[in-house]
């Protein structure tokens, strides 16, 4: 269970960041990335944050996974306050985002064992899980190669396996299928569905409509850091009177930007 209420996150811009904004009038000291965002993700569902580049998806997921402190609002993960007990929250989540990297010097097996240790997974159980994850994501033949020697897609799969080694109840994946071919992407989405069926709480972010449509049980459309629409795919189609999610998304986008398309 993830409960986000009234989440707000603003970044104080550094001088260097400010200087990079070309339009002098538009220069403001703080950048509001997310404002007044509320939603709940129930166990056994896959929740999708859908939004264009810069909408605030990554920021939201980082706040849930305790890497960022919300400027305002509250985040509860499995009933635990993310700001009060960040360590407990981190123990119960799998977090994947493409700017968290694995050390290229080690092998996938070394890496998995190391993170299992950090999550206090008993040795035998860790080996068992590593085998299952490696087998599922076709990493087994590469498990003793250095991560630096693997392809981009293989690295991504290793990162997914590492994030799941402690079998946490909550899964937070930021753009999980980005950069993967359709076969591998399908493997990942199938795995997420399997985790959902095991009753885990899953939240992902994406800007790809088909991913949202096929994978997510519930969707929150985020535009400019705030919630523009939410519900199941069917209810979003109904709200907008469109036949597919692509058109529905544009309809929501148009409404949000003052009716101009």
């Amino acid at each position: 269970m993830i409960e986000v209420s009234g989440l707000k996150k603003s970044y104080k811009l550094s001088k260097r960041q400010l200087a990079m904004i070309a339009d002098r009038q538009a220069r403001q000291k703080v950048k509001i990335a997310v404002s007044d965002l509320s939603f709940t993700v129930r166990p056994g569902t896959i929740f999708g944050l859908l939004g264009p580049n810069g909408a605030g998806k990554t920021t939201t997921l980082r706040c849930i996974s305790t890497l960022l402190k919300p400027t305002d609002g509250k985040v509860l993960v499995m009933g635990i306050d993310a700001e009060e007990s960040p360590e407990k929250v981190r123990a119960s989540i799998a977090f994947l985002t493409n700017d968290l990297k694995l050390d290229k010097h080690f092998t996938p097996l070394d890496t998995l064992r190391f993170f299992a240790d950090l999550h206090r997974v008993p040795k035998a159980l860790a080996e068992e899980r590593a085998d299952v994850l490696f087998e599922y994501f076709d990493i087994t033949p590469f498990k003793d190669k250095k991560i630096g020697e693997l392809s981009q897609g293989m690295m991504q799969k290793v990162a997914i396996a590492v994030s799941l080694i402690h079998d946490p109840p909550v899964v937070i994946f930021d753009e999980p299928t980005n950069g993967l071919d359709i076969i591998t992407a399908r493997k990942v989405t199938d795995y997420l569905k399997m985790l959902r069926d095991q009753g885990k709480t899953i939240i992902i972010s994406t800007h790809i409509m088909t991913v949202a449509e096929k994978l997510c049980d519930e969707i929150a459309v985020i535009l400019n850091g705030s919630l523009a629409a939410a519900g199941t795919v069917a209810s979003l189609l109904e709200q907008t009177g469109q036949k597919d999610l692509d058109d529905a998304f544009f309809e929501i986008y148009r409404a949000e930007n003052g009716g101009v398309s």
């Binding site: 360590e87 990297k101 010097h105």
Partner: protein, 406 residues
């Protein structure tokens, strides 16, 4: 020790020891470059010594009286390695260019009628010319004046006064050796205390610098630190785990530098001509060795902490490198500060981080360290470590430090 701490330390150590580039920069290059520097220095000074020994000095002496000539002829040991040419009625003009270019070491001219002036107790002079910009020339001058002329003058004086004691007035004889007033250990310690603490300090910092910068600023740059920070491991465990492993590596790196140095020195000693040797004797106790290890651990811990801190606020290894340069200079200055102070140091100096430990290292070699001094140094190190660890922990909690985008 917690499981996580152990895993982090094991992984950090494995990371370094299985990385050929790191092994080379941390252990091989320092030892080798120090070996090369010392070998070159030793080779040059050995050549210099041989050169000086092999050199035959040439003196030209004008108007030397017969008494001087017979005196020199009778005292053959004074003319060893010296070629004396006697001339008469010449001035320095002919010889000045030769002295200047180095083919002649010294020119001297005696007063006219030197012997008869001495006989009649009139004033008499010896005029000397040499080139004090030239080592051989200067050595020749001192030999001529202090050895030759002095002995010659004493001979004349002895002739004037029947009783030789009348001119000697009294003797000075150094009997220290027989009375055992010299603390040989301390005398040898003095040699060590000037250079070893400085070398230890600088080698430790250099070793710590390469490993910590790569592990903290490098991990930030590569995005692997953030991966570590989404685990439930406490930030202080991550900070301490990294610091312990880096301290181990930095100490080993410093040891390899020192080993390289000692090995080269040992080889050079064997190659040196017999006369050149350094009489060193030590009387360090087991406690002194414990103090030494203790102070090294304190120092390396503080260095690793400081470098970790600076690495944590840097975006990448390059930026960390720019912060490191002034700190390295400062450490060098602090390490050099006490090189030539040999008196027992006051206790308050031990309360200063880094400086206190370096003073302690020096005083171990001087047999001046006391348990109280050691514990003051330990207390200051403990406080410094705690501050550094807490500071680094806070940095690891700071989102600006975790994500340094653009």
């Amino acid at each position: 020790m917690s499981q996580a701490l152990k895993s982090i330390i094991r992984r950090e150590l494995k990371r370094i020891f299985t990385d050929r580039r790191m092994v080379i920069t941390l252990f091989l290059i320092p030892a080798l470059s120090i070996g090369v520097i010392y070998s070159v220095m030793g080779y040059l000074s050995m050549n210099f010594i041989k050169d000086v020994e092999a050199h035959v000095s040439s003196y030209v002496i004008s108007d030397a009286p017969d008494s001087f000539k017979t005196f020199l002829a009778q005292n053959a040991e004074l003319t060893e390695g010296v070629e004396v040419t006697y001339v008469s009625g010449e001035t320095v003009d002919t010889y000045a260019p030769l002295i200047k270019e180095g083919s002649l070491d010294m020119f001297a001219r005696f007063n006219d009628d030197f012997d008869s002036r001495i006989e009649s107790v009139e004033s008499a002079s010896v005029y000397t010319y040499y080139n004090y910009g030239e080592d051989y020339s200067e050595a020749s001058f001192h030999h001529f004046v202090n050895d030759m002329l002095d002995t010659y003058r004493n001979g004349i004086l002895a002739d004037r006064f029947e009783n030789p004691n009348a001119i000697k007035v009294f003797d000075v004889e150094d009997l220290s050796e027989t009375a055992e007033t010299v603390n040989e250990d301390k005398a040898s310690g003095k040699i060590l205390s000037t250079i070893i603490p400085m070398l230890i300090s600088i080698f430790l910092f250099a070793g710590a610098m390469s490993v910590v910068m790569d592990s903290i600023a490098g991990e930030k740059e590569r995005g692997t630190l953030a991966t570590l920070l989404v685990t439930p491991v406490k930030r202080e465990a991550i900070a301490i785990g990294k610091m312990i492993s880096h301290a181990i590596i930095a100490t080993l790196s410093a040891l390899s530098s020192i080993a390289g140095m000692l090995l080269t020195l040992g080889i050079l000693m064997l190659l040196m001509p017999n006369e050149v040797s350094i009489g060193v004797s030590f009387g360090y106790s087991a406690l002194d060795i414990l103090y030494l290890i203790g102070l090294i651990v304190m120092l390396v811990g503080i260095y690793v902490g400081i470098i970790s801190l600076l690495s944590a606020v840097s975006k990448n290894v390059k930026e960390a490198g720019t912060y490191m340069t002034p700190v390295y200079m400062l450490i060098m200055v602090v390490s050099f500060l006490n090189m030539y102070a040999f008196n027992a140091e006051p206790l308050w100096k031990y309360a200063i981080p880094i400086y206190g430990q370096i003073v302690g290292l020096k005083e171990i070699f001087m047999y001046q360290i006391t348990p109280i001094k050691f514990f003051v140094a330990l207390a200051n190190a403990a406080v410094t470590w705690t501050v550094l660890v807490l500071w680094i922990r806070n940095l690891f909690n700071n989102e600006k430090v975790i994500f340094t985008s653009s």
